[in-house]
Symmetry: C2
Subunit: 412 residues, 2 copies
C-alpha cells in the first residue's frame, strides 16, 4: 500500500510517526502541504510539495489521506483521487456532511472506498462498529457527546465556576477551541457528525442542515449551579430516536442525571451510547480529539483498506432520510426564568403549564438571591410532548411578571 497525505499538520505528523513505528507495510510515498518547506526535517526521505498533482497524478499511489480540512480544496482532492482510482481516508466531517452524498456515489461508481473513522468522535471506532459488527442490527436510539471542545468548555465551567466567555477564551489560548468557535459552540460540528452517524445507522443519507441544532452559548454559570443542585450536569448531546417508524434527531444542550453514563464523560472525551434491538445498550467512550488518538483512527482505516475487506462498507441506497418533527417527541424539561419577586407569579406560570397539560416535577425560587426585586424561578417538568412545552413557553413569555425568559433545557 502506497499512500499520499494531504495536509501535514498535527494529525498528519502523528500518522507518519505511527506508520514509522508500526512497520505495517504502508509506505508514505508523498506529502502535499502548503508549508512543506518549513517541515522538511520531519519529512526527510519523503517526496513533498505544495502541488497537489504530486500525489493525484502519481499512479503508484493507491490511497489518499485527506487531512487538509476546509471544503473547497479538500473536495477537489477527494474527487480527483476517486476519479483517478484511489481510495480515500479523510477526517473531514464538514466536507462529508456537505458533499458526502455525491462523494459516496462517486466512490461507488468508481469501485473505490471512502473511510472516515477519524471524522466522528476521534479515537472511538464507531464507524467500523456500526458498519461491521452492528450492520444488520436496528439501532433504535443513539445519544452522544461528539464534540470535544464544547464538552471541555462545559466541564471547565462547572469545575472552575468560570463564566462561559472566560472558559472559551482559555480554550482558545490552549488550542482547544478555534479563533472562530462558531462551528463548535453553535453545535454545528455535532450536527454534522450526527448526520453522518444517522446516515450510517439508517443507510439513507441525512442532510446535516435539516437537523435541529442548539449550541451552548446560552448556558450560564447559574444553570451549572442549578444543575448541580439536582445532581445533574449539562452536556451538549446529539440524539437520534427511532419511534413509530419515524426518525427523530437533534443537537441540544441537555441536563443529564448522574444515573446516565454521559454524566461522567468529562473534558474533551467523547462517548456514544446506543441501543440495538437485539444486542441491547452499548456505550463506546474514548478520546474525542488529539494528535495520536485522531491519527490512530486514520491508521486504523488504512489497515482496514489494506485487509482488502471492502465488502463491509455501507452502500447508501440512493435515497435521503425523512426526518421526523422533533417537537412531536417527548422530554422532561428544566426551565429557568427571571421574574418579578411578587405574589401570584408562580400561580400564573403554573396555570399555563397546567393548561398545556404539562405536569410540574418541582419549582424552586431563591428569594434570598433576589436582586432589585427580581428573582430566578427554576421549574422541572415531567416528560411531555416538546410541542406542548414550546406552546407553554410562548404563553409564559407574554406574562408581564416575566423579566426575561432565560433558558430551557431538556432533561435526559
Amino acid at each position: 500500500m502506497r499512500i499520499g497525505i494531504f495536509g501535514f499538520g498535527t494529525v498528519g505528523q502523528g500518522l507518519l510517526q505511527i506508520l514509522r513505528e508500526k512497520k505495517s507495510g504502508i509506505e508514505v510515498a508523498a506529502v502535499v502541504d502548503r508549508s512543506f518547506q518549513r517541515k522538511s526535517e520531519l519529512l526527510r526521505g519523503i517526496k513533498a510539495s505544495a502541488d497537489k498533482d504530486l500525489i493525484l497524478k502519481d499512479s503508484s499511489i493507491d490511497t489518499v489521506v485527506e487531512l487538509m480540512g476546509g471544503i473547497d480544496d479538500a473536495l477537489y482532492v477527494v474527487r480527483t483521487a476517486l476519479d483517478n482510482g484511489k481510495n480515500v481516508v479523510t477526517a473531514n466531517k464538514a466536507l462529508l456532511a456537505e458533499h458526502g452524498y455525491s462523494l459516496f456515489q462517486l466512490a461507488e461508481r468508481n469501485g473505490r472506498i471512502i473511510c472516515y473513522e477519524a471524522a466522528i468522535a476521534g479515537a472511538i471506532p464507531i464507524v467500523r462498529n456500526i458498519e461491521a459488527v452492528f450492520r444488520n442490527e436496528r439501532i433504535t436510539r443513539l445519544m452522544g457527546i461528539v464534540n470535544g471542545t464544547t464538552n471541555y468548555i462545559l466541564t471547565r465551567m462547572r469545575k472552575d465556576r468560570m463564566p462561559y466567555g472566560d472558559v472559551l477564551e482559555a480554550a482558545q489560548k490552549s488550542g482547544l477551541a478555534e479563533a472562530d468557535p462558531t462551528l463548535d459552540v453553535g453545535g454545528y460540528d455535532a450536527q454534522q457528525k450526527l448526520a453522518l452517524l444517522v446516515s450510517l445507522v439508517t443507510g439513507k443519507w441525512v442532510e446535516a442542515k435539516n437537523i435541529q441544532v442548539r449550541g451552548i452559548t446560552e448556558v450560564t454559570q447559574q444553570d451549572m449551579q442549578w444543575a448541580e443542585r439536582f445532581a445533574n450536569r449539562i452536556r451538549l448531546v446529539a440524539e437520534y430516536d427511532f419511534i413509530d417508524n419515524q426518525h427523530f434527531m437533534h443537537v441540544t444542550p441537555a441536563l443529564v442525571s448522574e444515573k446516565n453514563v454521559l454524566y461522567d464523560i468529562e473534558y474533551e472525551n467523547n462517548a456514544i451510547l446506543f441501543h440495538g434491538e437485539y444486542s441491547g445498550e452499548h456505550l463506546f467512550m474514548g478520546k474525542g480529539a488529539g494528535k495520536f488518538p485522531t491519527a490512530f483512527s486514520v491508521y486504523s482505516d488504512l489497515l482496514h483498506l489494506q485487509s482488502e475487506n471492502t465488502k463491509l462498507r455501507l452502500e447508501y441506497d440512493g435515497s435521503y432520510l425523512a426526518i421526523g418533527d422533533i417537537a412531536q417527541t417527548s422530554s422532561a424539561f428544566y426551565l429557568r426564568l427571571r421574574v418579578k419577586d411578587q405574589p401570584g407569579v408562580l400561580a400564573a406560570i403554573a396555570q399555563i403549564l397546567g393548561n398545556c397539560a404539562l405536569s410540574i416535577a418541582s419549582v424552586h425560587q431563591d428569594h434570598s438571591a433576589a436582586i432589585q426585586g427580581e428573582v430566578d424561578v427554576v421549574i422541572h417538568t415531567h416528560a411531555a410532548k416538546r410541542s406542548a412545552f414550546y406552546t407553554a413557553l410562548q404563553e409564559i413569555q407574554k406574562l408581564k411578571s416575566i423579566v426575561l425568559h432565560q433558558i430551557y433545557l431538556p432533561v435526559l
Copy 2:
C-alpha cells in the same frame, strides 16, 4: 452459508429468531440437542436430532455453532467440526480457556476459523475490536467487569443492603446464578475470560489457571457500607497491566472510586476499559448476558465469517505468555480488621505498616459499633508494592489484639 447448531437452549433459540427476522442468507440446516423432541414446535421445518453426526457428517454444513456448554462433548464437537472442514462459532469460554490453544492450532492447520465473540463480555464486541480495529495497537492496560453474575450480586448487596448469601439465593432463583455458583463467585469465569482477552491483546497464549484469582465470597455487607462512606463501590475486576516489558494480570474484588467509569456499571452489565498506546483510553460497555445480547454476538460472528474476511483473525505465534508476579506491582489498599477495643492497638498496626514502608491514607474506628469489646478498624493505605502490603498483613495477623483478619481489597 449453512449452519448447524449444537445446543438449543436460550441462546440457540434467540439466534434462530434473529436469523429468521434478519434474512441474511444464513440457513439453519440442522440442530442437535439432547431434548430436541420437547422443542419440536420451535424447531419446525429444521432437521433435528440428539445425534451429533446429523451435523458433523453433513458436508453441506460449512459452519458449526457450539452452544452446548460444558467441556468434553463440546471439545469433541469442535474438534470434529474443524477436522471436517467447518468453521466454528462458540460461546464456550470454559472450553476455550482449557483447550483453546490446541483448538486454535488445529483450526490454523485446517485453514478454518474459530469465532468466540459471545464467550467474552456478552454483547460487547471486544474480540472483533481488539482483533481488527486495534490489531496493531499496543494495549498497555485493561480493566474489566466481565462477569455479570457477580456484578449483579454486588449491586444487589449494595442497593438492598442484603447479605451475600441471601442475594446469591435470590440470583439462583431468578436464573442469574447457577445452582453451583463456584465458577462465577469464585472468580474463575472472569479468570477464563481474562486469559482469552490477554491472549488476544498479546498474541501469545495465556493459561487461565496461572492467573491469580480471588472471588467475591469474602465480601460482606460491612465492606459495602464502608465502601459507600468513601464514595467507593466494590466490583470484581479482571485487570491486565503491561509494565516494564512484563505482563501482569489478576482477578480480584476491588474498591472502585466514583471517578472510575466502572463505578457506574451495575447489575449484569459488563464493561471493558483499556488503554491503547496511541489511541488513548477506551471504554466499551454492554449487556454481559441474556438471550438476545448473547445470541447477537453469535450472529455477528456468523456475519463476519460470511463476509469471508478471514485475514483479520489473530494468529497465535505458538508461544505461551510469561506472566509477571502481580505481587511486584503497586496498589492502594482497603483493610478491615476486627480488633479488641483497647488502647495501643492502632499504634501497633501503624508501626507494622510503617516498618513495611506503607503509608496510611486514613484510619477509621467506630467505637459506637463495638460489640463485646471488639471493634472494626478500617485502614486505607496509599499505593505501595503489593508484596509489602502482604508482608505487613502477615505481621498484623500475629498481633494478639487482632480478633480476625477480615478482608483486604485493592483500591482502583
